[in-house]
């Protein structure tokens, strides 16, 4: 790929992000309340922003790469990423909005009236956030290496620097605008090349998708256990992601939180058609990428390989821009929510504390990214989902739907899930992906029930610790708000 094309695309995304951030900032002073938690943001804007934040390196590069590598086994990833939002809608969206909590630790503290629970939740949230940022930085390294030939660390560092600058300078105030823009950029960046390539190949009469069925490498197909465990992780992991909850706060009430989630599901469904199509095209036209160990680069390399010349360069630039939009939006969303948690619990919640916390939140995973090797992006993000599903998911679900949850139960369950899942993933990583047995490599199927079980049993044993405010809080979580019309009249 032409290095100038890659660099121009990267700079273009950074400038566009900064410009929209600035423009949005000015608008927010004059018209509606973007800065003030965007309580009046329309569901469409909000849903685009949620989509923009959620679609990470794993979705943009990883899914197509994994489909190239393993075919239908990998198709479960986008299905799971989308269906995770269905679970979030069913069990979490409206009650969580009504709780008024801004972060997950806020919610658990309010629900269980316990500072200790808050601290444990904060630790878990920070761990999840860091684990989730690392694959974004690996993706950035890969993208910069493929598109410009520069070493990988340049890409990771560039993303961290840009995110830190925007967060520290306060440019994230208009984050709704920026994230919404990045959703549509990511969709365009995948959809236009796919449509172009399909038309081009159909025109040339070389389009035959029959070869797509056979795997380009000799990887064994995933067994039933692996598929079920992956689905458990993705379905129950989404509702515990720290950067997702913050966005729900910007809905005016529980019902609009549900409406927003419905739109998000539509946006995700449309988006995931294109990585799937790219993966399918890759299996026909670029199977060698799977064999030389660069499947995640498929999205970036396919346009140039099939078209060449100026059209190829233009499409490549678009794809690189979309990829950096993915790294930047997910990383900044995570850094903002991590900085919120770190600064509140350690630094007293001041603005200066928030800035310092943002630096910590972004630099630590950068160090991780330098010291670890990039593996399949979709796979490593899938492991983070397994971890949230075994820690934060049980405390949210039981906290929202079960009056009997006690602080001791919540802590015991989260610690159990974190130790079992973290231990399994760590052991699996040390043994290497070839040697690790399926139950270590994909632990969600047994760690999630274990965390739920411990949480319920310990809560049962410590009934006297269930807070007395539970009746009032459950009422607040589930009773619909007064209709907006009367609320306006009251004011």
């Amino acid at each position: 790929m032409n290095p100038a094309v890659g660099l121009t695309a990267f700079l273009g995304v950074v400038l566009a992000t900064a410009a929209i951030g600035f423009y949005g900032l000015r608008i927010s002073r004059t018209t509606s309340d973007f800065y003030v938690a965007s309580r009046t943001v329309r569901p469409w804007w909000n849903a685009s922003a949620i989509g923009g934040e959620y679609l990470s390196a794993a979705s943009f590069l990883g899914v197509a790469g994994l489909i190239l590598l393993t075919g239908t086994d990998a198709l479960w990833f986008p299905v799971g990423y989308t269906a995770g939002y269905l679970m979030l809608l069913l069990f979490v969206a409206a009650p969580l909005r009504r709780s008024g909590a801004y972060t997950i630790p806020d919610f658990t503290e309010a629900r269980l009236e316990s500072k200790a629970v808050r601290r444990v939740t904060s630790l878990v949230v920070v761990a999840v956030g860091w684990l989730y940022i690392v694959p974004q930085l690996h993706g950035a390294g890969l993208a910069i290496r493929i598109s410009t030939g520069l070493p990988s660390w340049v890409g990771s560092t560039a993303v961290v620097v840009v995110v830190c600058l925007t967060v520290v300078a306060g440019g994230m105030r208009s984050i709704t605008f920026v994230q919404a823009f990045q959703y549509w950029l990511k969709l365009t960046a995948l959809a236009v090349p796919v449509v172009f390539l399909l038309l081009h190949q159909a025109d040339a009469g070389t389009l035959s998708l029959a070869e797509a069925a056979s795997n380009p490498t000799s990887l064994p197909p995933a067994g039933l256990y692996q598929t079920v465990s992956l689905l458990v992780a993705l379905l129950f992991g989404t509702l515990g992601l720290p950067h997702v909850l913050v966005r729900f706060y910007t809905n005016p009430d529980g019902q609009s939180a549900r409406r927003t989630t419905l739109i998000v599901l539509g946006l995700l469904s449309v988006f995931y058609l294109f990585p799937t199509a790219t993966g399918l095209l890759g299996r026909v036209f670029a199977p060698e990428l799977a064999r030389n160990g660069q499947p995640d680069a498929l999205v970036l390399l396919l346009p140039g390989k099939l078209l060449g010349g100026i059209p190829g360069d233009l499409l490549s630039a678009l794809v690189v821009a979309g990829a950096f939009a993915a790294f930047l939006s997910t990383t900044s969303g995570l850094v903002v929510s991590l900085a919120g948690v770190i600064s509140q619990d350690l630094l007293g919640g001041s603005v200066r504390g928030f800035r310092a916390a943002a630096l910590v939140a972004a630099v630590v995973p950068l160090a991780f990214a330098f010291t670890t090797d990039s593996t399949a992006l979709a796979g490593s993000v899938g492991l983070v989902f397994a971890f949230t599903a075994s820690t934060i998911c049980p405390v949210l679900l039981l906290g929202i739907w079960w009056r009997g949850l006690s602080d001791a139960g919540a802590i015991a369950g989260m610690v159990t899930g974190a130790v079992l899942c973290g231990g399994a993933l760590g052991a699996g990583t040390i043994m290497g992906s070839d040697l690790a047995p399926a139950w270590l490599a994909q632990p969600a199927a047994w760690t999630v029930p274990a965390a739920f079980g411990v949480m319920v049993l310990v809560s049962r044993a410590t009934k006297h610790r269930v807070p007395r405010s539970v009746t009032r809080l459950m009422t607040r979580l589930h009773v619909p708000e007064r209709p907006v019309a009367t609320e306006r009249q009251v004011r």
């Binding site: 309340d33 003030v36 986008p78 299905v79 269905l86 419905l262 919640g349 009773v479």
Partner: protein, 120 residues
């Protein structure tokens, strides 16, 4: 519309002041009110579990079909293998439809609750 400024909740520094109950909250915390609230929570949970189980059944049915009809991978529509079409495209409308039905039913549960409470 009032402007609501969102900052970090200063819960650690000062606890929220105990404000007096509104009449609505008092009604909700009475014994009769709690009967209605509990029944609302139960019906919302039942609804969520039913929709989630329905979706999981669809997935299980697909898995069963793949196991029972090994020829599925050979079948093509417009040159694309059928299992790719099901898993790569056809499941998404199912997810969207489940979500839409859930939203309608959940809103209906809440409307019923409101009617009950306001009738009293």
């Amino acid at each position: 519309m009032t402007r609501v400024r969102v900052t970090a909740p200063q819960s650690a520094a000062r606890p929220a002041p105990k404000r007096p109950y509104t009449s609505r909250e008092a009604a909700e915390e009475s014994d009769v009110g709690q009967v209605f609230v509990r029944s609302l929570i139960r019906s919302q949970l039942r609804l969520a579990v039913v929709v989630a189980s329905g979706f999981l059944l669809v997935i299980a049915a697909y898995g069963l079909m793949v196991a029972l009809v090994p020829d599925l991978a050979q079948m093509r529509i417009l040159g694309v293998p059928v299992n790719w079409i099901i898993l790569g495209a056809a499941l998404y409308p199912v997810i969207g439809l489940s979500a839409w039905l859930y939203n309608r039913a959940a809103a209906r549960n809440e409307a019923r609750y409101r009617d009950l409470v306001e009738d009293r």
